[in-house]
Symmetry: C2
Subunit: 105 residues, 2 copies
DNA sequence: ACCTCATATCAATTGCTGTTGATATATTAT
DNA sequence: ATAATATATCAACAGCAATTGATATGAGGT
């Protein structure tokens, strides 16, 4: 179905776009060793606090991380296998040729 | 080394950004079954010819595809394993936590 | 209550990049 | 030579998303 394909590629692209940011990649790499609070992340990635907040919001919105409030702090955790899952979907999509080709030169 | 890390993450992000476009993903998927000429790709992905030309230029610039002129036509070929290689690098980067964390809350 | 610290939100700006329309180049056919 | 086809280039434009600066929220400590 054409619509299904369209939606799928759009979703995939969206997830890729979340990964395709230097600061977010750094955040993810930082979270790979376990949960961190925002100030730890901000220190490690070296960006302003409000910018960090923004990127964490994006990562949360698209389901890459979860957050947990503990006292004054908010701890972020990378969802298990989430990056691997996204990358696997991309690889699958790139391998499966479902587009019709009717033209001919 | 801090500089090395910075450069690496920037390169990685750049490669991801190339993938993180719906039309380019479609092109790659289409090329996965073998070389195609521009008009075949344009027909399959359903975008204007000049836009296709632009995306192919991006894919070529970052080494994802090669082109070969044959008569009137230009055939594009997906570099073997290039997508897999990029995705593998991303996964590696995300797993390796090389960022220093000196702060503490 | 007040102050401080950790985090989030908001508004404004900037910069990039995908898209579009028009035109150029190159190759083949008549 | 001219026309037609395939592809590329160029100059805007448009829209989104990252960044920045200022402010708000909320929890603990004094």
């Amino acid at each position: 179905m054409l619509a299904t394909k369209t939606i799928k590629s759009r979703e995939l692209t969206q997830e890729l776009r979340v990964l395709a940011d230097e600061n977010r990649l750094k955040i993810i790499a930082c979270l790979s060793s376990g949960e961190k609070c925002v100030c730890q992340l901000t220190d490690a990635v070296d960006i302003p606090q409000n910018l960090m907040s923004h990127h964490l919001k994006v990562l949360k919105k698209y389901g890459l991380v979860t957050d947990e409030h503990r006292g004054r702090w908010v701890y972020y955790t990378l969802k298990p296998n989430i990056v691997e899952d996204i990358l696997a979907k991309i690889e699958l999509y790139c391998q499966s040729n479902t587009l019709d080709i009717t033209s001919h030169c």
